[in-house]
């Protein structure tokens, strides 16, 4: 905290040298809202979004003295952004098309609440030109660029033409609109494989498919056009040369309505799964000052070419020779904007509001610093062991952000008790750490991830932690292929070294003994204790993974002396068995662990180095007798198909009695706007179908049975 204050103070000085009448108002870590009370701004602003980004916007509004209006769907009635805002209005039921995308309802709220401006956040209506137009027609300020820029940049084809004209490097083999599968194949062949196919209107990596041959092109065309139609009501597609092994590096730009435009350095966003970003950082280890300037200048040139105002992001693919190609421009605040705020000290939301109000930028390109290093991890409610992350839903039974770790910023819109539902993005929060250099920021991230308590839903902390400590990542040797390259057989969690395994076993055994000792302490009992002398040593057998390890624990004052694999370890802790976080010192090494669960049968799961390990701890006697326990028959999983995630059944392509071959599509599940094809695990006859199109299914629900 002290460090942060110093950090903010640093910027205060910097601003004061610029313009001494501005005062610094900030309560949030790692960016500064430099607010001039004499600068008139909006009185009331509506946030047309939910979750963390709505909360993020409200925070800056509060500092600027702007009243806020939140909109929400009925299931979000108790959401954090609703509580934070000065006013909140329900705009419809849970499905986004009926609430957060419901322009009529939102316009009605704007009229009723007399909001003067609308911040759209990201996603939803943030890049919807129709929404911007309707706002303009009612004299309400849209916090973002004008309709023209949204339209130009929202269309992938038009944006590339514009970029070309503005002398921005574009991807080779770029082509036009696709009408059918045959044309898709023809275009793909012209460009040369591999090609990338995606919905023209879609943002980010959603719906992006890569084809290496004609057949995959046809399949990609089918999926992408379906998704394009269902998600955007616009079935145009884009096919272009796919750059193998690229980095995804983007430039934050900030422009005003007076023709000024700045580039606020880059963000490295190469760590992605299924084309969605997972870990971002600023600056990038890969860019030298020349490349950075070249990219920045091209980004600014593009912004100026479309008379861009507000904050925007120009995304580039960068190949191994530092050639960079324009990918697209996002005409909104990006999810990963905090890393830019950390290294520049700017409050991008505030700058967006100022620009929208018509003020000129307060800075020149020379004022934009790169101070330190910032890393952002997107913490998702998803199971990282299934294709690097399949959505998980549920109630956050316990939730505690690692804000006690210094230089940590958490942007979230949820709290303990919140539901992660199938209706919205499964992001829990953005966890940002800052350091004077990259190593420091990464070290803090490690600590922050270990101290993050998330219970009730699956989460990707284990994957995030493995990524940030992976030698390739630490060296900066990354590309958008990082995850599939590093984990070709899928992510399996942290691999324990011999020492780490011993540490885990010693910790688990000590916890077990601490629990046993506590369960013998009864307070205020009127009976004379009949227990013989207190036990001081335990012979245990710990089952971890495929191994069974004999562990001997002896109590040594307040610490435990544990013998594992012939090695003695000393384990010390306060042993607070109710706390979700437990700080344990094992032979001088401090580890923050989390005991996720335990039961009377000695089964326990412990989060250690980010990964949750299942263990069973039994006394030696019980372990010896357990060989007599009957094996319970496990379910044959090849003849049944269960839903890997919660979602909606889009289509079922089989009926009872049908013959299916291995790998054949059986049904399609849509979850979080992604269509997932469920395939048969073996060849056989369909015995029963337990779902139909339109059904909502939960994780592990039985879909189809084969004979």
């Amino acid at each position: 905290m002290a460090y942060c204050n110093r950090f903010n103070f640093l910027f205060l000085l910097q601003w004061e040298t610029l313009c001494s009448r501005w005062c610094l108002i900030t309560s949030h870590k790692l960016y500064s809202t430099v607010y001039d009370p004499n600068e008139k701004t909006f009185e009331k602003l509506l946030i047309a979004n939910r979750g963390e980004i709505a909360c993020r916007v409200i925070k800056t509004c509060k500092k600027m003295g702007i009243k806020t209006v939140a909109i929400h769907s009925d299931v979000d009635a108790n959401a954090v952004h609703v509580k934070m805002a000065d006013e909140a209005v329900c705009v419809g039921p849970a499905p986004t098309s009926k609430s957060y995308l419901n322009m009529d309802a939102i316009m009605e709220v704007i009229r009723k609440t007399r909001a003067q401006a609308v911040h759209p956040g990201y996603g939803f209506l943030s890049e919807n030109k129709e929404f911007a137009r309707r706002l303009a027609s009612e004299g309400v300020t849209f916090i973002g660029p004008d309709t023209h820029a949204i339209q130009a940049m929202g269309d992938k084809i038009e944006s590339k033409l514009l970029a070309k004209n503005a002398k921005v490097n574009t991807i080779p083999g770029f082509d036009g609109v696709v009408k059918d599968a045959d044309e898709a194949v023809r275009i793909a062949r012209e460009i040369g494989y591999p090609v990338m196919i995606k919905a023209s209107a879609g943002g980010g990596g959603k719906g992006m498919r890569i084809a290496w041959d004609d057949e995959e092109t046809r399949e990609g065309f089918r999926f992408s056009s379906q998704e394009a139609a269902s998600s955007f009501g616009d079935d145009r597609l884009l096919i272009e040369k796919f750059i193998d092994n690229p980095r995804h590096i983007e430039i934050q730009v900030l422009a005003d309505k007076h023709g000024n435009a700045l580039w606020l350095n880059e963000r490295e966003c190469s760590i992605q799964r299924r084309n969605q970003k997972v870990v971002e950082e600023a600056p990038s280890t890969f860019l030298d000052p020349e490349t950075r300037r070249a990219m920045g200048e091209q980004a600014v040139a593009l912004a100026k070419a479309v008379k861009y105002s507000s904050a925007g992001t120009v995304e580039f693919l960068v190949d191994s020779s530092k050639n960079f190609y324009f990918l697209e421009m996002n005409t909104r605040l990006q999810v990963e904007h905090p890393v830019t705020e950390c290294i520049t000290g700017l409050d991008l939301v505030q700058e967006m509001i100022r620009v929208a109000k018509g003020y000129p930028l307060r800075h020149t390109q020379a004022d934009i610093p790169i101070n330190g290093w910032a890393v952002e991890c997107r913490v998702y409610a998803e199971d990282p062991y299934k294709s690097f992350g399949l959505p998980s839903i549920g109630k956050l039974s316990q939730y505690q952000e690692p804000l006690h770790v210094p230089n940590v910023r958490v942007d979230s819109g949820i709290q303990q008790g919140s539901d992660i539902s199938i209706y919205y993005d499964p992001m829990i929060s953005k966890l940002i750490t800052y350091g004077s250099n990259r190593a420091e920021a990464l070290k803090r991230m490690e600590e922050a991830l270990d101290n993050y308590v998330i219970r009730g839903v699956a989460h990707n902390i284990s994957l995030l932690r493995e990524v940030i400590i992976h030698p390739r990542f630490v060296q900066g040797d990354i590309s958008t292929k990082f995850l599939p390259e590093v984990y070709p057989d899928g992510f399996k969690g942290h691999k324990l070294t011999d020492l780490e395994r011993r540490q885990l076993l010693a910790t688990a055994a000590s916890l077990y003994v601490a629990e046993q000792l506590r369960s013998q302490r009864f307070l205020g009992t009127p009976r004379i204790p009949i227990a013989k002398s207190k036990r001081s040593s335990w012979e245990l057998s710990v089952h971890l993974g495929d191994g069974i390890y004999p562990v001997a624990v002896s109590k040594d004052g307040s610490s435990f002396s544990v013998e594992v694999d012939g090695m003695k370890l000393n384990v010390t802790s306060e042993w607070n068995l109710a706390s979700p976080l437990l700080s344990v010192t094992i032979d001088g090494t401090q580890r923050t662990i989390q005991r996720i669960s335990r039961n009377a049968s000695g089964e326990t799961s412990i989060q250690f180095l980010g990964t949750v390990y299942k263990l069973q701890i039994l006394t030696k006697v019980a372990a010896e007798l357990s060989k007599y326990m009957p094996e319970k028959a496990a379910e044959d999983t090849s003849s049944i198909l269960r839903s890997p995630m919660p979602g909606t059944v889009v289509a079922v392509s089989v009926k009872p009695g049908d013959m299916v071959s291995e790998g054949q599509e059986i049904c399609v599940i849509e979850a979080m706007k992604m269509q997932n094809s469920m395939i048969a695990a073996k060849t056989g006859k369909v015995k029963a179908v337990h779902c139909k199109a339109g059904d909502t299914v939960g994780e592990e629900d039985l879909l189809v049975e084969l004979e």
């Binding site: 039974s397 008790g417 009127p526 009377a600 049968s601 006697v621 009957p630």
Partner: protein, 496 residues
Amino acid sequence: MAAVRVLRRAVRLCRGRAASGARPPPVPQRIEEKRRAALLGGGQARIDAQHKRGKLTARERILLLLDPDSFDEYDMFVEHRCTDFGMDSSKNKYPGDSVVTGRGRINGRLAYVFSQDFTVFGGSLSGAHAQKICKIMDQAAMVGAPVIGLNDSGGARIQEGVESLAGYADIFLRNVLCSGVIPQISLIMGPCAGGAVYSPALTDFTFMVKDTSYLFITGPDVVKSVTNEDVTQEQLGGAKTHTAVSGVAHRAFENDIDALLNLREFFNYLPLSNRDPAPVCECHDPSDRLVPELDTIVPSESTKAYDMLDIIHSIVDEREFFEIMPTYARNIVVGFARMNGRTVGIVGNQPKVASGCLDINSSVKGARFVRFCDAFNIPLITFVDVPGFLPGTAQEYGGIIRHGAKLLFAFAEATVPKITVITRKGAVQIIFRGKEANAEEEYVDKFANPFPAAMRGFVDDIIQPSTTRTRICHDLDVLASKSQSSPWKKHANIPL
């Protein structure tokens, strides 16, 4: 009578030895031999057979249930007294007979245990077997300590006839006399059929082991010949049947080890007798912990479901809740937890199942649990969100009036501290009130207005949901000295 029998047997033994001409081995050696034989039960072959069935032996079970080196065995040298059908031959004599009895400690606290030995005559109950059980039950009642029965018995000792049956009668009588005096727990770890089932049925809690234990009055063969029904042992009296359908058993566990370790944990919730207070464990969970999620967990629409277990877990110490009958009458949740270390009994309507309505099964489930808590000084915390009793002919013909009355009776009769939290709607809140001594609290609710009840003093306070834990812990401290007496009576007449 018994003394005469023993004497006769002794004489016989001496004669036998004299006839063979050899000098009997010295006494210490004989003691050692008998002890070794007792420890081996029915012999290695039968022990192996027991293991093959996925079951542990009577002694192995005791070893896992009790603290290490804490078992003091009784009657290891008792042998059965049957002389018919060749039972008096020495190969049919097993020191200790078909049950191991004694006392020991569970987490340092006293418990009496009997563990039926299936390797000796299939664990069948002889007069001596019954006598051994009765002895520890009598002791347990006198010193005030729970009795745990590990049942694994083929039934009556057929060779002994009425003597065996009389043994059951002796046990039943003690089960009844001890009821409400000391906690009695039965863990069914093998067959338990015929008259034998009534001892577990008379105890406070009956737990089962999945796939290896059965409870029924008559087995599948007899069922087939009488009612012509085809039914397997598992369907008729397996753990699933009794924990989900009949409500005879209170919980089932995966295997012997799982069951015994859970029993150890369960034991820690119980007072040793009705003269002991509810136990208080060392607690690391702050009693003034706020539970912010409670402010949003209950949906404002009165028809929308939520999981009462979420509320219970969030309020109790360390989210630990030992649920009783979790798969039977799931529209009511009952079980044990701790508040600031002190054992409490929790009763909650479950809006997730059948809207949390009260029906015959849930009324009986709730009533029995409340009466156990009241008998053993365990404070009751009730979470109310109930639309009312379930209407319909099935319920009325089944006697919902009589069975529902049990729940009213149990709550009204209970004199332990009672705290009721109305989480949303309390259609029958009046039922749950014990006039003066219970503290009632109510959540603020947008639609179901709590004011009418609060203004008339039917509820004591309207509290912020997030402060529920703090308030309950505080109230329990105050109510610890609660003293309430009922008018003299032989016993009340609960509508059975």
